[in-house]
Point group: C3
Chain length 175, copies 3
């Protein structure tokens, strides 16, 4: 296990071996240079999709839990992009977090903290990232949170570290 | 014609020679290194703007058609960024798709598929991209869909392939 | 003073020495290669947060003023990322502007122009950028506008111009 995976085990988090496949005609990650771009990951865990609107159906704590599942999916995709070797992950770069909420909801940052706090807990300083947190009028399949991300891997595009993704396939879902 | 343009002709799509200009004080694309960043393209075709809210005014099929027009505009901007030579386009990297919808709408992925499917039809595997699909509370001028994108061109920033854009000018519109 | 700061003084704008710190477990900027990524900056000035919904509480002019404060915060973060030396800023690359609005509001571009016009006034052609402007169902703390940005600095990641940010700390707020 890498140092990161030891830390994940301490946190009680197991990254899915086969991250959620895509809902449509796109790919689970794209590598350009040493940047890995991961599409929007929707809130879900082993129990299925985490649905609902903040400000109506879910409280902030439940929203933060939902955001954490997005971050776990992001990290699982990055691991796959790095050929299964998370030690090639240099740092998280940026998250954009979309919260499914009522028009009156104002605690987007506390919700997306569920993702940010997890990444820092798992990756240490390398988990610190730039971030935006906004509300979406609604989200795919009614999920509570969707987060996209980019991160930096160790090597450069001219000698690609992670290879380009194969076409998407599979039964599970990402937005 | 490049291979891509032959394929576009087979698909019955003609890229506008003069892509929609910007609505404001920004530029139709920015090239950094081998990445072309294209601002949000709003749904429109030769008949004008495609307006309306998914979940109220438009069904999913109409939304997907609207999304396809955004992708056509994106590709037209990328062509311009590549000096008119689409063979310099290496691959689509990432789309962020915003759907103008009611708070209850949950089929954002099927709407944005209109763009994704077109890019894969036109570009083959090079058209596969990372993607996020969310709802916006509303969109510029009431359009149904807005999509921004980035793509990779053949050469590097230190020997810029596409040059920097001239200041925006023109009468038509992008968001 | 750099040329940019002379221009800022002419515009009557003083960049805050200590830009707003983050609301959560993330950092005020991330540098990858020669790109500076700045997280979403929320509308605020010396008087505090600028709150409200476009289409209900605020008119377009007030929204554009709010957007301008976001751009000032973005530029302050970029200055910090460049070690205090704005002459290392090569150009603005991209903005994504989120407007807190009613579902019927359609003047997002005019609102975000408050940011775009300021950047072009301050930076000249180097301030021209790719841009998306959409409405969010709501925004952190009820602010009117949130804008994230990326810009290009003079040097390359392999000889980092700006250094990596220290962990976020402080009392003030960014989204």
């Amino acid at each position: 296990m890498t140092q990161i995976e030891t830390r994940l085990a301490e946190l009680g988090v197991t990254l899915p071996d086969a991250p959620h496949a895509c809902m449509a005609n796109y790919v689970p990650f794209v590598v350009v240079g040493n940047l890995v771009h991961v599409p929007g990951q929707i809130s879900q865990n082993a129990g299925g999709l985490i649905k609902g609107k903040l400000g109506a159906d879910l409280d902030v704590a439940a929203g933060a839990d939902a955001a954490k599942t997005c971050a776990i999916s992001l990290l699982a995709q990055v691991k796959k992009a790095c050929g299964g070797d998370l030690s090639r992950l240099v740092r998280a770069v940026k998250l954009v977090g979309f919260v499914n909420s009522t028009p009156e909801f104002t605690d987007q940052p506390k919700v997306i903290n569920g993702a940010s706090d997890f990444l820092v807990a798992a990756l240490g300083d390398a988990g610190r990232h730039a971030r935006s947190a906004v509300s979406a009028a609604s989200l795919p399949l009614g999920v509570a949170v969707e987060i996209e991300g980019s991160s930096r891997s160790a090597r450069d595009a001219r000698a690609p570290a992670c290879g380009f993704p194969a076409p998407a396939a599979g039964a599970s879902r990402a937005a």
